[in-house]
């Protein structure tokens, strides 16, 4: 049992949980994730470790409510327990002094970018952050991201805050302005990290490819065990099949077959909807 120490709603449908998980906190590094099972009969869902405190033995998870399991999680209160939690899974992000690094976070994806941006900053990088959401009220972790960034930009789809448009749009403008070698379309940026919905990562990768800017993305495929045992999480990278849980979750964005990733994310759409609708119905009855 893993106790929820505190809970905070960061934006409508996006909740942060601080959870007691001593062993995971001790080993966690930026880029890694856990798999949780909320209750008996529940499914196993992966969530990125958004922060960790080794001394206190606490990890933070930021979850976007999209279906039944994340709704169940959102329904838990401070003091409640998560039945199962295992991790840290996946490989940690590569952290070293690359020079100038752009960190792009979209929606709930800002949460997993934060610890990576922080670690990159600590490693001596010049950190440029671009974060975005649908609208101002949905933007999360703004102050936290600002505090680890040397340059900081916000986008919203509706223009209610910062640049109007997608993160990929702002990114393209930034890169265009920072060309160091106009002929070869080279910029003064050394690396890009992008985490968010698959479509967002795909468009970021498309933009950076033009500038030959190495781009790391963190893939959110469907998972079961998270230890390489089932193959549910398989994706195609550079024409080869990889398991996100053990080979990733981070991959070279220019090598990833995003169409396949997005197609595979939809495998259970119909079932998940039925499941979620039944659950909502159940909740309504309880009220």
């Amino acid at each position: 049992m893993f106790k929820i120490i505190s809970k905070e709603e960061l934006a409508p449908g996006i909740t942060r949980f601080d959870v007691e998980a001593m062993l995971v906190a001790r080993k966690a590094r930026p880029g890694q994730f856990v798999i949780i099972r909320i209750r008996e009969g529940g499914e196993r869902i992966p969530l990125t470790i958004a922060a960790y405190d080794r001394e206190k033995g606490i990890i933070s998870l930021v979850s976007l409510r999209v279906g039944k399991s994340t709704a169940l999680l959102a329904g838990l209160r401070q003091g409640d327990n998560i039945l199962d939690l295992v991790g840290p899974l996946g490989n940690p992000s590569e952290i070293k002094n690359f020079g100038r690094v752009i960190c792009v976070g979209g929606g709930a994806g800002i949460a997993p970018v934060l610890p990576i941006a922080g670690a990159l900053k600590d490693a001596g990088n010049h950190v440029i952050s671009i974060i975005g959401s649908k609208t101002e009220g949905m933007l999360i972790l703004e102050d936290e991201m600002r505090s680890v960034s040397d340059e900081f930009y916000i986008c919203t789809d509706d223009g209610s805050l910062g640049y109007k448009g997608f993160v990929s749009g702002l990114l393209e403008e930034y890169l265009e302005k920072n060309l160091s070698d106009v002929k070869r379309n080279k910029t003064n940026v050394d690396r890009c990290i992008a985490i968010g919905p698959a479509v967002m990562m795909a468009s970021v990768a498309k933009v950076t490819e033009k500038y030959g800017l190495k781009t790391i993305v963190s893939l959110n495929s469907i998972m079961v065990d998270g230890t390489g045992m089932c193959g549910a999480c398989r994706v195609e990278v550079g024409g080869k099949t990889k398991f996100v849980c053990v080979d990733g979750p981070e991959f070279d964005g220019h090598q990833v077959n995003f169409d396949l990733l997005m197609s595979r994310q939809r495998i259970y759409c119909k079932q998940e909807d039925t499941c979620y609708d039944l659950y909502k119905e159940e909740c309504r009855h309880k009220k």
Partner: protein, 482 residues
């Protein structure tokens, strides 16, 4: 002289009793439910079957059992209706009799060596083993006890030993060490202990509450089970050593799913058997939406492979509502590695065997599987394994309509842990190089056994390895000698 011929006559009469058949659910009914197919002997069945054993002076059956259960004696005890003592006799060598009685490939092990098998049918040793184990479970359940067998509630006080993986190898090693008084902790990556017994083998072949009772029994023996602990991630082997564990037994199984490497394998609707079975068994997807994990319920399902894993997948697909399940295997039925009983059950339930066929491509529409292309095979010269090698018949390709494909073509060693232990010797296929007699690896204090050493094998072989390792772990801790 007279007495002898008398007894000879009795013998002849005995062996002429036909092997007592196993009561089973009707195929038409059972293919629609997840309840156990074989319902188990009644007392009359067990007594009759036990009476067929001629109590050989030189019981060859025992050498056929990898853990050398004293089969002759336990069967004798059954004939005397001393069921509890019969169970005790089995438990001297085998801590999971209710499991082995159900899933051992008896026809290749104990029953293969039974003398009666030469002229008649062998004694149904496995079914008898299951009977005595089930009888005890039922007796305790009737008394309102949760546990398998009488609880022991012991307090262990000796050195600490860590076991990685809670499959049959890990569970057996834990039980043996606990009996010797060691403080044992089993670390398991999943949220539930049992290994393949809980995530792989389906409910209709091995009810999960039986496995659970065995595990509860271990807990009553003061074995600590720590689930949600991936060794190599949550804790490393160095952590375990620093934590005061004097020896480590690695029993992580062969859990890495193989794919064929043909086009279309990443289409929606293509599963590894591991994923398909894990969803259905461990996550209870067959109860969706009551349980939250979904699974695709295909109408036309193709399962590729010929082992127990393939049979389990095919029969699960049927129970999940498929109209037609094809079993695609590149050799003939005689070459199938699955247990005879599973093959028989699968046929009875209407699985469509496509023998001497091999997939060459999976085709899709809008990202979803809709066809599988097969090529016909013929048997050529024997290969290294002695089985005749299947060769494709050129130009014989044809397509069948399917919406789910399950790959059950074997498993390999998962490198998650093994690649993280410095100095641990692996063989060329990635399995741990361990002494088959002692379980010792290239690292002092680290033992290994089960599928992670042998490659995918059987429950009882994994248990045997766990037992042997326990003996040598004890010796190592007592003497300090490697």
């Amino acid at each position: 002289m007279v007495a002898k011929s008398e007894s000879n006559k009795k013998r002849t009469k005995k062996v002429r009793i036909p092997r007592t058949s196993m009561p089973e659910q009707d195929p038409g009914a059972r293919k629609k439910n997840f309840e156990e197919v074989a319902t188990g002997y009644t007392q009359e069945d067990a007594l009759l079957e036990a009476s067929r054993c001629i109590q050989c002076k030189n019981p060859t059956c025992i050498s056929g059992c990898p853990v050398e259960i004293d089969i002759k004696s336990f069967i004798k005890l059954i004939t005397e209706k001393k069921f509890e003592e019969a169970l005790e006799k089995i438990r001297e060598k085998n801590t999971l009799p209710a499991v082995c009685g159900r899933v051992c490939p008896q026809e290749d092990q104990c029953e293969k060596e039974c003398i009666l098998g030469i002229r008649y049918e062998p004694v149904a040793i496995g079914r008898l083993e299951r009977y005595v184990a089930d009888r005890e479970l039922k007796r305790l359940a009737d008394q309102g006890k949760e546990c398998a067998y009488s609880e022991v509630t012991r307090k262990c006080t000796k050195e600490k030993v860590a076991i990685v993986g809670s499959g049959p190898a890990g569970l057996t090693c834990a039980a043996e060490l606990s009996k010797k008084g060691y403080r044992v902790t089993i670390f398991e990556a999943l949220h539930k202990a049992g290994g393949v017994l809980v995530y792989g083998i389906p409910e209709f072949r091995l009810p999960k509450d039986i496995v659970q009772k065995e595990i509860d029994y271990l807990k009553s023996m003061d074995v600590n089970i720590s689930v949600n602990a991936v060794i190599g991630k949550t804790l490393t082997v160095e952590d375990l050593i620093n934590d005061g564990f004097k020896a480590i037994f690695i029993a992580t199984g062969a859990g890495l799913p193989h794919f064929m490497g043909i086009p279309g394998e990443n289409l929606n609707g293509v599963y590894s058997a591991n994923e398909y079975l894990t969803r259905s068994n461990l996550m209870k997807a067959y109860k969706f939406p009551e349980c939250d994990t979904p699974i695709i319920r295909g109408k036309n399902v193709a399962v590729v492979g010929g082992g127990n894993v393939a049979m389990d997948s095919a029969r699960t697909a049927l129970r999940l509502g498929a109209d037609h399940v094809y079993l695609i295997y590149r050799r003939g039925e005689a070459e199938m590695p699955a247990r005879n009983e599973e093959i028989k059950h699968a046929r009875e339930e209407g699985i469509d065997f496509k023998l001497l066929n091999n997939p060459v491509e999976i085709m899709g529409r809008d990202g979803w599987v809709d066809k599988i292309r097969l090529i016909k095979m013929k048997l050529g010269e024997p290969d290294q394994s002695g089985r005749r090698r299947p060769v494709p018949v050129s130009g014989s390709e044809y397509d069948i309509d399917v919406d789910v494909v399950i790959m059950a073509i074997g498993q390999g060693p998962n490198p998650l842990l093994t690649s993280r232990i410095k100095g641990l010797k692996l063989n060329s296929r990635g399995y741990i190089d361990a002494d088959p007699e002692t379980g010792k690896t290239s690292l002092k204090g680290v033992f290994a056994g089960g599928d992670i050493v042998t490659g995918a094998a059987t429950v009882i072989l994994a248990m045997g390895a766990g037992r042997k390792a326990a003996k040598h772990i004890d010796q190592y801790i007592r003497t300090g000698k490697w």
